[in-house]
């Protein structure tokens, strides 16, 4: 290595050392930056938890509805929460509902895996 290279390396080292002392952030500045990072993450986490809670609630409800006829058969009393008297075709509600829930779960899982 030539003398010229050595002096240049020393110069570069000094340049970076002096600059390193200047590169500090105030507490307020750091706090604002951390807030900017954490806000969307907390929102994302909160939203995911909320969606999952709603889905879990809906799934439980659908499961409960699906269990009702079974319970009716088992108890041999078709009058208990007698669905037959209600003019709604439950199959039309439950089947698309279940498909929608499964679809949402799949999309959420897909979203989670693409995040990672």
């Amino acid at each position: 290595m030539t003398d010229n290279n050595l002096s240049n390396e020393a110069f570069i080292q000094q340049l970076f050392q002096q600059n390193a002392e200047q590169q500090t952030f105030s507490h307020e500045n750091s706090e604002a930056f951390v807030d900017t990072v954490m806000k969307p993450l907390r929102r994302q986490l909160w939203l995911r938890t909320a969606v999952l809670s709603v889905m879990a609630g809906l799934s439980s409800l659908i499961l409960a509805f699906q269990l009702v006829p079974v319970i009716n058969i088992l108890s041999d009393s078709y009058n208990w929460l007698s669905f037959q008297t209600i003019s709604i075709n439950w199959e039309l509600v439950l089947i698309p509902g279940s498909i929608a829930i499964l679809g949402m779960t799949f999309l959420l899982m897909l979203d989670h895996s693409t995040d990672q």
Partner: protein, 179 residues
């Protein structure tokens, strides 16, 4: 009470998505990532935006951190990749910025020496790879091998980037001795 180290905080984030643990990691490492990106881009606004993206990516990719290497190096690698992607996406805008920096550097080098040492003025004459290698080597004390891993450049390229970068600064600013 002893403060938890980085590995402990990472484990908490992976296990329970603990936002407080991640916030502590951001506090500890934000100055490093922001400085690294400021030195790379020469633009405070762009650097802070990229630093924010870096931490958001780190949050979602934290499970891929195996804990074998240094967490700081892992973050700096994400930041560097982010910077390269942003540079590619905004090539036109970035070129204008580079040209402006270049013009600033030319103006400063042709005039009288400023009282302080302005690092950005010198770094502006380097290309991205040279700049990254030089900063990692001199500002963060990384070895050539570590730089090679972080930047995904071959070891020989890292060495020649550092050599070429120092020579380019010397030639551009006509440095013949220590200041």
């Amino acid at each position: 009470m002893k403060k938890p180290d980085d590995k402990e905080l990472i484990a908490r984030v992976i296990a329970t998505q603990d936002t407080q643990a991640f916030e502590a990691l951001v506090w500890r490492n934000q100055h490093l990532v922001r400085n690294w990106l400021r030195q790379l881009s020469g633009d405070i606004g762009m650097a802070d935006d990229l630093a924010q993206e870096t931490f958001i990516k780190a949050w979602s990719k934290l499970h891929t951190f195996r804990g074998e290497g240094n967490f700081r190096s892992w973050l700096m690698k994400i930041a560097y990749t982010n910077f390269l992607q942003a540079k590619r996406q905004q090539f036109q805008q970035y070129r204008v910025l580079q040209e402006a920096s270049q013009m600033e550097a030319d103006k400063d080098s042709s005039g009288e020496e400023s009282a302080g040492l302005d690092l950005q003025k010198y770094l502006a004459v380097l290309n991205t790879e040279e700049r990254a290698c030089l900063i990692l080597n001199y500002a963060y004390g990384y070895s050539h091998r570590e730089i090679s891993i972080l930047t995904e450049l071959p070891l020989g390229t890292v060495k020649s980037n550092i050599r070429r970068g120092t020579v380019r600064i010397r030639d551009k600013f006509n440095i013949t001795g220590t200041p």
